[in-house]
């Protein structure tokens, strides 16, 4: 038995509730706007959730209320299922009696293997998990629903309530439309239960899993090798206990005469006109790129206000703050002569590269392999003109890999492109090393 020793054991005493606020920073491509002509203003907004203060380290972490929903349909065979069992045992072993766990399996039917209960005796879960074997078709929505019910029955506003869905296939029984499923997942997320979607192998529906995790305010993961599952669960638990804010939104209010041209991240827009951001985790940063168009501008005039709002973990009320952005004003000629901020350029390009991947997928879906390849090459071309920082080099490697895969394994290429395209707008799990990458 490999040792699944994880850093989570050290996190079991993480602070809670945590009263630290996220920090919002803004930097612009150039440190001013023009007084005598129109300006295209590129703003890079970073939202940083501070690391946990040492004096809070001893306080207990919030309890977790989880349902693990496992696809046991026919395609989830042999090795895959055995890894899924192993990883589920790992998950049960990491939880304590303060946490609740339910285990649900589904194929064409749904079985609640262990109903939600405190993990006072992990062996109880482990024995049940060992009985899971392969079945028929994939009633993915019903499986999710049963898992969600288990969490909902014990919904605790002070806990982190989440469904973890592990699937290797597309939904083919029951509700199968991904838009419809995502809207239902979103409805539940509004009511305090988030959903993470983990796709495993080469047969899962990457669009559906992406839509569910996005709508579910949870994590998206694509696992090509089932050996990565335990790492993924460890990271998911770690992320959950480090959650500072859920249902995070950013309101970007352009002042009069200012036009918001683009938010490169492609976040979903809420009905209130706010951008829906992924969860804030302690020690993590979100990077948002927004482009504005301004007419000739006067000094001291506010350009845009940013309103960050979130639900504090364990708290009931919604917290928020507003930042007002003004910038110095100078002549256009003078402005042109100023050095652009390379960090802003780099982050804009990286986010644009994620967006271009979505376009490449569209071309792939039209069967236009050549156009997809051309798009990937064009991104690389742009990146090659930037200073070759570590981030840029890594990105170019990823693109190179996808380009090669287009010929060798188009399905895998599409899956990876989808995962990478979603990095801009949601929590996407990425393995620490590339050593696990490879075929099953």
């Amino acid at each position: 038995m490999p040792s699944w020793h994880s850093p989570l054991t050290n996190l079991l005493t993480l602070p809670f509730p945590i009263t630290m606020q996220p920090l919002l920073h803004v930097r612009s491509l150039r440190p001013a706007v023009a007084a005598d002509s129109a300006t295209t203003l590129d703003l890079l907004i970073t939202i940083a959730a501070p690391a946990i203060a040492p004096e809070l380290e001893a306080r207990p972490r919030p309890p977790l209320n989880l349902a693990l929903v496992i696809d046991r349909s026919g395609s989830m065979s042999g090795t895959q299922l055995s890894y899924a069992r192993k990883a589920a045992r790992f998950l049960a072993g990491e939880l304590t009696e303060r946490d609740r766990l339910a285990i649900v399996t589904f194929d064409d039917e749904v079985e609640v293997l262990v109903p939600s209960q405190p993990v006072s005796n992990p062996q109880l879960f482990i024995n049940a998990i060992n009985t899971i074997d392969c079945g028929g078709t994939t009633a993915l929505f019903d499986g999710w629903l049963a898992g969600a019910m288990q969490v909902a029955n014990h919904l605790d506003p002070a806990a982190l309530n989440r469904v973890l869905l592990l699937s290797d296939g597309g939904a083919n029984v029951g509700v199968v439309d991904s838009t419809e499923i995502a809207s239902k997942v979103a409805g539940l997320s509004q009511r305090g239960i988030s959903t993470s979607a983990f796709g495993i192998g080469s047969g899962f529906d990457e669009d559906l899993m992406g839509a569910m995790a996005g709508a579910g305010d949870g994590t998206l993961a694509h696992i090509e090798s089932p050996a990565q599952l335990a790492d993924l669960y460890a990271s998911e638990l770690d992320g959950l206990v480090r959650t500072l804010g859920k249902k995070v939104s950013l309101g970007i209010r352009a002042k009069r005469d200012v036009q918001l041209l683009d938010v490169i991240n492609d976040f979903k827009l809420s009905s209130a006109g706010n951008w829906q951001l992924p969860n804030l985790r302690h020690g993590q940063e979100l990077t948002i790129a927004a482009r504005f168009k301004l007419p000739p501008w006067q000094p001291n005039r506010e350009i845009v206000s940013l309103r960050l709002a979130w639900n504090q973990t364990g708290g009931k009320e919604r917290l928020s703050f507003v930042e007002h952005i003004t910038l110095p004003v100078m002549a256009a000629v003078e402005l042109e002569g100023m050095e652009p901020d390379l960090v802003v350029i780099e982050q804009f390009e990286l986010l644009l590269a994620n967006r271009e991947r979505s376009r490449a997928i569209e071309e792939l879906d039209r069967g236009n392999l050549r156009a997809a390849r051309a798009l990937l090459e064009a991104i690389d071309q742009r990146l090659s003109l930037l200073p070759q920082t570590e981030a840029i080099q890594r990105e170019r490697l990823l693109l190179e890999e996808k380009k090669a895969l287009l010929d060798q394994d188009r399905n895998l290429s599409r899956k990876r492109l989808r995962r990478e395209s979603l990095r801009s707008s949601m929590s996407v799990w990425e393995p620490d090393t590339d050593s696990n990458e490879g075929v099953l």
């Binding site: 079985e111 929505f141 629903l145 305090g192």
Partner: protein, 224 residues
Amino acid sequence: MAQPPPISASADPGASEVLYGLEQLLAIAGEQLGEEISSRTVRLYATEGLIDRPGKDGRRAVYGQRHLLQLLLIRSLARRGLSLSAISPHVASSDQELEQQLQQLDDTSLGTASPSITTPTTNDALTYLQNLQSRSGTDVKTDPSPSLLPLLGSPLSSRSPSLRASRMASRSSASSSRWHRFSLAPGVELHLSESASIPPPGSRREAWLQRLIDRLREQLDHPD
């Protein structure tokens, strides 16, 4: 009914343990578990391979200590909501392991293991999901798993041992039957086994409903 005296072993080679008839087994297990166990339940478990086949004394089935341990463990796990297929690996163990498992379960008995199941007064998420479930279809999908439904009542049952006992007893005698659920109000559900007999409309049904209301009132007023 008078219970026959224990039969000393001869059917089981190498064992000099006390053997029980079915009635005795049910009585002993029932006492230890605090719930009534029917002979149908035991036969179902035997058919499912959860309990070893009984020995024979002439034409009569006889049960030993191992059968008793298996039965106690199955019921203890079933009360925690495990499905029969999830229970099966537990009961295949050696006698000693069976005893250990029972011991562990006693240490983390239901009452102490779930100390704070306080269902929020309004649970939007649950109501929302119930609506989704009822719209999800009329066939199997509205009732995804027979093992799920009886458990949805657990918050109430964990506070009321007597209600739990009756619920579990009815479940065990109809383990393979289906359950119907009705949402009565936000956060309140009624679960009804398919095998439950509901009196026809009229005075008998009214009396039946009145008994249910009295029972519920009793539970709410005197949860212990």
